[in-house]
């Protein structure tokens, strides 16, 4: 049934065509007055400049890695890696491009009415959503199609001494399944670019934001987005390179990760189907009928077909938002669009699984994934929305002083790990029970299958935010700014649910990737070994190293987060000095008589944020190698588990602490506790500034961290010794 791949090819093309169509629809709108167009062009130019520089900066890195992959393994692996990297980069560019076109158009539409503005923003978001989904699926389809020889079940085998020289250098045979290497390399390319894009972009945006606020708002009392502030454009550029460009690459990475973890596990299951343990597991997935060699392609391509269903569902969800007449509340429209996408995805999955030789357990696993994502999303919403208790209590604490506000915000973030922890635990137990680790992998797939819709809504937010900036900068009537603010805020709930899916799926696909890594150790006789990792073993060679690696794994996310935060602080510091310098050098700027030097601010932020992403990226890539080479394969699994546990908790804590502190500020600005300018407001601004890098820089990057380390481990597993080399 290799022909199934044409379904995913067709749907990828459909997704990309509709993205193009939405782009045309959006671009047809007018971008407004000359001033608006001028601001837009500044932002566009700044964003293009940064992302091009970023792309150049890591083009070389990518080529070096591709060369290494070719040297160690095969040219196909290197090509798959480059395809993944290029597509991830493209997703960022496409999203950024459409967002920087949409922003002024949304502002202009908001001069007339809200629904029209919503439509423009949504069309802009949909370009990104459908591009991400289409590129990810299309790329993987292409890779499988191009290299189908390596995937053919009759050819699937363990290639030994693929590169005899490397084998000789490391003193071991290189044993692996070639097809697994190819899809993993594709995923690694996507993840690596995502890490760079996310980290670089988010350091950029938060540093620009903090710099603009600290001098502009706090010292000179300029309003947000005031054109006299030299950092205003950099701030708006940041929204596009971080919250849009970074987000696109990030979600593409998650999406790819969740698909390839299913495929890799399926490959190993098929190869090892003679093993009784694996046979039992296959029985669970296939409702007891087992899998015939003829059904092989179903195993590899079913995940792609399920995803294709999710893309169609997303497309319909987006259409619903655009054609709805705006009689209902706008927030309801967005929610309904997401609901439609979710329900349709589940329904289509049911049909697909029913038709396939897989058993219904797979469908239930997908359903559990979708439900878990929704639960985590609603919990985030509860802890970070000003409609509920926690944020109101943070605002009350802000009223007692900045320190109590920040402390309380941190407590809210910590507390918010409770329900997601339980939801993930329950889902893991159930999906595992249904179909072993394959069930967990399908759960992740379920959470991300309608990514087209969730990315569209996620992108819609920063577009509306930028539109507000342009309204402010072009001195449009206050009502316009109010409308764009409203548009921004109604996307928040839906975006929170999207974040729930992102976090939940990261946990699930990381787990599936770790399992795939463990199984990727192939014995010298060519058999798939299915080792279980023992924590605390009586074997002195394994026991201590696994425990030690668990500790090291749990530590890495903290150090990684620290490096990101320091990157933001240091860059913001440079920005603060530059803004102060400009105000001092030319007194006309503050009076609105001279034009500030926007470009210098942009250049400083760009340079610094590109520099600051080097160390965290290096840490992420080198740690698996260090652990693998020094402590061996078992310890590396422990390391990944430790990192996963730590990442998940930190990511939820950071995201919700930042969200709660942010919305407490907005709640106070609505007039509570004295409103704007009150003591409580000053406290809440401090709280918001503390929370911002946690929420936008650290939280999302942690999700990428653990998946990238897992995928690197899968790829290079065969290089590492089984037992630690540190003992004689």
């Amino acid at each position: 049934m290799f022909e199934l791949i044409f379904i995913s090819a067709l749907v990828s093309v459909l997704a990309l065509l509709s993205a193009f169509m939405f782009h045309r629809v959006m671009a047809k709108h007018d971008a407004g007055t000359a001033r608006m167009k001028e601001l837009q062009s500044y932002i566009r130019e700044g964003a293009w400049t940064f992302m091009t520089e970023e792309a150049k900066a890591f083009a070389l890195v990518m080529l070096v890695i591709a060369a290494v992959l070719w040297g160690i393994f095969y040219w196909e692996v290197a090509v798959a890696f480059l395809i993944g990297a290029v597509l991830s980069m493209s997703a960022g560019f496409i999203g950024m491009n459409s967002a920087t076109l949409a922003n002024a158009r949304v502002t202009n539409a908001a001069r007339k009415d809200s629904k029209r503005a919503l439509n423009v923003a949504m069309a802009g978001g949909a370009v990104m959503g459908l591009s991400v989904a289409g590129l990810a699926l299309g790329g993987l389809t292409l890779v499988i199609f191009l290299f189908q020889g390596s995937f053919d079940p009759s050819v699937i085998h363990i290639e030994s001494k693929a590169v005899p020289i490397v084998s000789q250098i490391i003193g071991r045979n290189l044993n692996f399944i070639k097809a697994a290497l190819i899809v993993s390399a594709y995923s690694m390319g996507a993840s690596l670019v995502a890490l760079f894009d996310r980290v670089g972009g988010e350091i950029y945006t938060k540093a620009a934001d903090m710099g603009a606020d600290l001098v502009g708002k706090a010292e000179e009392h300029l309003p947000e987005d005031d054109p006299r502030n030299p950092a205003t454009i950099a701030d708006n550029v940041g929204d596009n390179v971080g919250d849009v460009g970074g987000l696109g690459a990030d979600l593409l990475e998650s999406f790819v990760g969740s698909i390839i973890s299913v495929i890799v596990i399926m490959l190993y299951l098929f190869v090892a189907r003679g093993n009784p343990d694996i046979g039992a597991l296959l029985g669970k997935i296939t409702a007891g009928t087992g899998i015939a060699a003829a059904d092989y392609w179903w195993l590899v391509i079913t995940p792609l077909v399920i995803i294709s269903g999710g893309i169609i569902a997303s497309l319909l969800g987006v259409m619903y938002v655009l054609v709805s007449r705006g009689k209902e509340k706008l927030q309801g429209v967005l929610m309904n669009g997401t609901r439609i996408a979710a329900v349709l995805t589940v329904a289509l999955t049911y049909v697909i699984v029913y038709v396939s030789p897989l058993g219904m357990n797979v469908f239930w696993a997908v359903l559990i994934g979708v439900v878990t994502g929704i639960v985590i999303g609603y919990v985030s919403e509860y802890y970070t929305s000003s409609h509920f208790g926690p944020v109101k209590k943070v605002a009350e604490a802000d009223d007692a002083g900045a320190a109590i506000g920040v402390t309380y915000g941190m407590a809210v973030g910590m507390l918010s790990t409770f329900v997601p922890g339980i939801a993930i635990a329950v889902a893991v137990v159930l999906t595992y029970w249904l179909a072993g680790l394959v069930g967990v992998a399908f759960g992740a797939l379920g959470m991300l299958s309608f990514v087209g819709m969730t990315v569209a809504v996620d992108t819609y937010g920063p577009i509306a935010d930028n539109a507000g900036g342009i309204a402010q900068g072009s001195n449009l009537p206050h009502a316009v700014r109010k409308r764009t603010d409203n548009l921004d805020s109604i996307g928040n709930t839906t975006a929170a649910i999207g974040k729930g899916f992102a976090i939940g799926s990261a946990a699930f696909s990381a787990l599936a990737l770790i399992a795939a890594y463990m199984w990727s150790a192939i014995g010298s006789a060519g058999e798939v070994q299915i080792p279980s990792i023992e924590i605390i073993s009586t074997n002195p060679l394994i026991g201590g190293t696994v425990v030690a690696a668990l500790f090291l794994g749990a530590m890495v996310p903290y150090v990684f987060s620290a490096l990101l935060i320091q990157g933001v602080s240091d860059t913001a510091n440079k920005m603060v000095r530059e803004i102060r310098r400009q105000f001092k050098a030319d007194a006309g700027i503050l009076k609105g008589k001279s034009k500030p030097d926007f470009n210098r601010c942009i250049a400083i932020t760009s340079k610094s944020s590109l520099k600051k992403m080097v160390l965290p990226a290096l840490l992420t890539i080198t740690m698996p190698f260090l652990i693998g080479f020094l402590l061996g394969r078992f310890a590396l699994a422990g390391f990944l588990i430790g990192a996963l546990l730590s990442c998940m908790q930190l990511a939820i804590y950071c995201a919700n602490t930042g969200g709660a502190l942010d919305n407490a500020k907005k709640f106070i600005e609505e007039g509570h506790y004295g409103g704007k300018g009150s003591e409580a407001h000053v406290s809440s601004v401090i709280g918001d500034t503390v929370g911002d890098p946690l929420k936008d820089t650290v939280g999302p990057s942690l999700d990428i961290l653990v998946k990238l380390m897992s995928v690197v481990s899968i790829l290079f597993a065969s290089l590492f010794p089984v037992y630690p080399v540190i003992f004689p």
Copy 2:
């Protein structure tokens, strides 16, 4: 060689006698002017009232638990539990009592010279240090002596159906080693009281501190410890119930935990010595000679003898500090005292292990423990002392604004997990290699063996702090306050190293306790099962539940921390309102004409902090039961590992973030960035207030959390099913 126990009995008596002697020496000093005595009596009364109420509050809980233990197991288990609880409580009382006598005496001595004041403070600290060590060792010696019948190797056996009714109710036989239950119950008693004391005391002290600062300092601009501030006494009471009373119970708990984990593992090793895996492990510990039945008592009592050596070393270290002539710098005196204690402990351990039938591997493990503790301590010092880069950078960030300061402080805390993570990993690998999990347990023992000295120095700090408060409140000359401040600060480095030992040993003993828990599963045929916990197994019954439990375990410390922080915030909030009320009700207070109502502040803080410790305590105790009963024994091990990983990282992060923010404030107060009253100073005060509950409430409590959950698991392991009950 049961007679060995007389060594530990003798040393316990010696420790308690010297504590009594130091108490007499300290109490002979004069407490100064009438005003000083008055302030002292307020603080003393407040502290006694709170700790008595606290003790009453959990006396009932303790009795209920003892009854349950008796009902399920044996009366001996219940008695051991109560002994542990009472001794832990006593340690808190003794420390608090001596500290509240010493404070004014230190102030008075500081009117003459610094060395004299140091001696009084050190004598006060030594009372606590030697009491903690003496009580812990003495109690355990007593328990073993009283119940030696259950420890006798000829009697050691697996008692089945000890309580046939319970066995029938849960539908399984209760299988366990009675001696292991007895020592674990002793440890659980100590841990439970420590949790209550630490959590209750630290919520009290931080809430009083924040309340006093927020209204007194920030709103009314009173200096620290001003007698017009109604919360001043509560603040000083807090130092004694939290930083002294809580600390005493906490360190006693750590100390006991590290000893009993060695004993429990030794018991299982001895019982299962026929098993080839265990035989190999025993070979490593005994340098290949194995262990004869006649040498049995060596296994149980050697840890007590090593600890006895540590106590003697601590006593000599304390003596050195007291008799040194003060020609060297005072900080050097304290450091040398600690160095003497460390070196002597190592030397004595060498002799003891050499004499015993154990091999030198055990000695090396102890040495690695000591070195690791020192490394972690120096790293804490580096990240939290104003002499080094990190704190200076936090101060620089404070100058850019409160938000950047707090953010940077958090980054420093996160970064500070790097070296400790590596140090712990290396130590685990090495100790495991030397002697399996027994090696890890001996490493923990090494870190804590000279606890008498580290507790003395740790207690010395709050005494000096209190002395400063009394100096301020009694309007003594500025020079006196300056001297006490200096005394306070020179203890900081030594205290930081003490904290390193506390954190490192928590990781190590928790690991040893978790291993002991796993081995405590005894088969129905009476054999000791040595299962290894598989993470990600192909067994669908175990696999999913262990992974789920890992996630749950990693989540619990976050929720626990959130509850503590909320407890502090809520209590501080009540305090703020009460202080404002008093200032409003009687304008004479601020003018210094009327006396504020200290007692109302004390009563409000007491009541609220006792209430706020219920939920975190419940969470800690119920979680192991929930996981054990629902998901089974394997999953519970996963849960404990997840909790350990999360606790360690959070504890280091919280402790060092708080420390860095605190010392950045002090650095600025020394005159940097504009000194007191500058913008930077305002920022740093906010930072300090954010960091305080992290450093003093959350950090230390997390160490107790993981050990208490492990010990509860060991005790009740036999009640839990092996496989999850949630599946049909």
